[in-house]
């Protein structure tokens, strides 16, 4: 059975834990470095990236997680997690810096500009069954970041569709993968749709 850690310093970690548990995955809430041992995968949840980054530094989690990522350990960051995985966010805050992506924080504006949109995510086809097939994935963008530049080592998993209200950002990369590192600007853990979690577990187990 897969044992998945969820970084539980601040933010929406319980939602990931609940979704993983429903998939029969064993979970560990990670607040200290010793809780990283014995894991098969790690999720860095949404929250405030400055708050999570600061606590990760204070409790000695940055170096061990960075080392794990560099050694090919599967890690998925959602929203604030994407920010922490990025190599550059144009802002002086603690980062893991392990993914070859440049991320812009609060890329769509403030909370009143936060939005929901259906996303076409080709890689989810491999884990979709029955009625899920072909259904757009609910993309919740809450003061969300986006991938401004994708380095050669990373590939895009999802892009924003065309719409006047997100004009200028149409086609922007909102999910990316580099080896076993995955990043999403949106929040699959808030949707009840477990396809992205199943996709990550498949990446982790591959």
């Amino acid at each position: 059975m897969t044992r998945c850690g969820v970084l539980a310093l601040q933010g929406a970690f319980i939602e990931h834990v609940q979704l993983l548990s429903a998939l029969g995955v064993d979970t560990v809430q990670v607040r200290r470095p010793d809780q990283l041992s014995g894991l098969d995968a790690l999720i860095i949840p949404g929250g405030e990236s400055t708050s999570v980054g600061k606590l990760a530094v204070a409790y000695g989690l940055v170096e061990p997680i960075r080392r794990m990522a560099q050694e090919g350990f599967p890690i998925w960051g959602t929203c604030a997690g994407m920010i922490l995985l990025a190599r550059d966010v144009g802002f002086g805050q603690p980062l893991l810096g392990v993914m070859d992506i440049v991320v812009r924080r609060n890329a769509f504006g403030r909370q009143v500009d936060s939005f929901e949109v259906g996303l076409d995510i080709p890689v989810l086809r491999t884990v979709s069954t029955g009625a899920e097939c072909g259904r757009p994935f609910p993309g919740l963008f809450i003061r969300a970041p986006l991938v401004e530049r994708l380095g050669p080592a990373a590939e895009a998993l999802a892009r924003l569709p065309d719409d006047v209200r997100i004009a200028g950002q149409a086609g922007a990369v909102v999910a990316a993968r580099q080896g076993k590192l995955v990043a999403t600007a949106f929040h699959p853990e808030l949707t009840g749709d477990s396809r992205f979690h199943r996709y990550f577990l498949a990446v982790a187990g591959s």
């Binding site: 539980a8 400055t50 909370q111």
Partner: protein, 296 residues
């Protein structure tokens, strides 16, 4: 063309979910806001006076100057909340128009309407509201609040009322869970709460939105106490900037909120913080000056 929806319920409640396990700090200047952000606050509440000063100075307390709020918004990258008076939907319209991330319809300010709260469904910006018991929490959610905080007694540095209100709400939820389905209607009537929400709470075993504690939290141990009681995060108002070393205390409270169940870490972060804010015994506050009783 894709369907894009802003201001939906999941987007409103979702931001509160991102704040969980965190500390929301009252700040009165951009400099305070920077200190709060650097200490690891997950959001700040921008206001002209902290509750302890509102209490000391008396008079009518209103929405803060939008210019001050704007300057705080320009200073930090974390979400910025601001308070409007209970029932004052025009103050709320103003706060929404300048782009605050959350509005607190707050009993800390002088109420503008003694019967009605704001119809919060009509706004794109999400609201947080205070409560003392489950019925009050569910009335506010019924009106569209996307986040709840137990009231405590703001500006006292005394956690006793925060504990009372959190225990009252969480205890009532536990009692609902043990009820037979046919008992829920009479309970909803008794609480003055929408039946559908009472049923939902009985099924979920928690509020359908995020629930923080507020009002009197002044130390790392206070924050951890509220977390162990079962709230999702804490608001700290006067407790930080009325203490002798705000930056250090702010950071300690952030750490205590994350490691709320780890007494060793709590001991460590509680060391050498200097003077906490001077506290107020609740009994010495005349009934009419208690803030928690505002709101209906």
């Amino acid at each position: 063309m894709a369907e894009v929806e802003t201001g939906g319920w999941k987007i409103k409640t979702g931001l509160a979910q991102m704040l969980k396990g965190g500390v929301i700090m009252d700040v009165v200047t951009p400099e305070h806001a920077k200190i709060a952000e650097q200490a690891g606050a997950c959001a700040v509440m921008a206001l002209e006076r902290v509750p302890a000063d509102i209490r000391a100075q008396g008079g009518v307390a209103r929405m803060s100057d939008p210019e001050l709020i704007q300057r705080i918004m320009d200073t930090v990258t974390i979400p910025v909340m601001a308070k409007c008076r209970i029932g004052h939907f025009v103050e709320a319209q103003i706060l929404e128009s300048i782009g605050v991330d959350y509005i607190d319809e707050s009993e800390v300010l002088t109420p503008a309407d003694e019967e009605h709260h704001i119809d919060k469904h009509t706004f794109r910006v999400p609201f947080v509201c205070g409560c003392r018991n489950l019925g009050e929490a569910l009335r506010r959610i019924g009106e569209g609040a996307a986040m709840i905080r137990t009231k405590g007694e703001a500006g006292t540095g005394n956690v006793v009322e925060a504990v009372r209100h959190a225990r009252t709400v969480l205890g009532a939820i536990r009692r609902l869970q043990s009820m037979a389905p046919e008992e829920l209607m009479a309970t909803a009537k008794e609480m003055g709460a929408p039946y559908e929400l009472v049923v939902q709470v009985a099924q979920l075993g928690r509020l359908p939105v995020v629930n923080f504690a507020a009002g009197g939290i002044a130390t790392p141990a206070d924050a951890a106490l509220m977390m162990q009681l079962g709230v999702d995060g804490v608001f700290v108002g006067s407790g930080i900037f009325k203490s002798s070393d705000p930056a250090r205390r702010a950071e300690a409270i952030v750490k205590a909120t994350t490691h709320f169940a780890d007494p060793k870490i709590l001991a460590d972060v509680s060391k050498g913080l200097g003077e906490a804010m001077a506290g107020l015994e609740i009994r010495v506050i005349p009934e009419e000056e208690r803030l928690a009783g505002r709101g209906w």
